[in-house]
Symmetry: none
Amino acid sequence: MRKIFLFMDTIFNKVDAKGRVSLPADYRAIVKELSTEIVCYRSLTSPCIEGCLEDSLDKLATEIENSTDFFSETQDNLTNLIFGDAKRFSFDSTGRIMLTEKLLKHANIKDTAVFVGKGRKFQIWNPENWEKEETRIRAEVMKNRPSLKIQKDAE
Amino acid sequence: MRKIFLFMDTIFNKVDAKGRVSLPADYRAIVKELSTEIVCYRSLTSPCIEGCLEDSLDKLATEIENSTDFFSETQDNLTNLIFGDAKRFSFDSTGRIMLTEKLLKHANIKDTAVFVGKGRKFQIWNPENWEKEETRIRAEVMKNRPSLKIQKDAE
DNA sequence: TGGTATAACATGGTATTTTATGGGATTCAA
DNA sequence: TTGAATCCCATAAAATACCATGTTATACCA
């Protein structure tokens, strides 16, 4: 039986001169409880950093391994992009991680980072960009309401 | 075997200066018995807070995870909107949770919160708004008699 | 059935802990 | 030995746990 873990909420944290950010306490709790690590990489679709548990990437690796044929070009591209970019991040005794220059630049994060929960994953945004993105998504989702039907199945 | 749990009734509770509210005793009993947690988020359609059990969101996460492919845009939007807004709330020994500023503002709740049972979910309203909403719903229902078509199958 | 004792609940207040974050010291590698 | 990464300490604010009280609901008993 798999334990419940969900990255949730939207948290604004300071990034100091050294590039250090507090990983939200809730997120830390998950990492500790499952005794795993956080992995971050540049989002393939948005100007933000994406993070998940190392377990999730392992699961993804297995899935890719099994689904597409072993030598497909798509698989090659994807694995290169994701795993080539991903990096483990462990937090210190005060709960901070140190994001790399590459990641910060991709998300255009200067002095404030926004952690946005996505369930099994989370994202880290620049505050202004996140605000824009959120309104965009809200509009998008309200337009095609049907996509919310998945929720109905929750037993 | 699924246990029975239903959020029911309409309960008026005080919200103190810190944003603390007693979670109705019946609701607490459910959380304890299923040894899970409450999750709250802003309703997408009404000026109220919506709450459910963490299990429900976990199931949703799994479904989203499995239903669409890893890079689907729909999945991205949905997870951002839902999980980015949701937050766990655990109650202290006296049975109180601490609602966030964001949630209180969305529902325009000041010093009194109304808990309204919805079965698998519940809502938290500002008293005046809830009164209006209830009469509105009642009127609506009287006008076009609703048809609750229930699919009969083995539970 | 009526009355009383008991338990549960909501709620105000206070104490304790956790969290985010700044700054400095130490270590390590180029 | 300089720059960067890691660790440790300090602090303010926020979240959480704990205690106390009046009130209501429930259980119990004559």
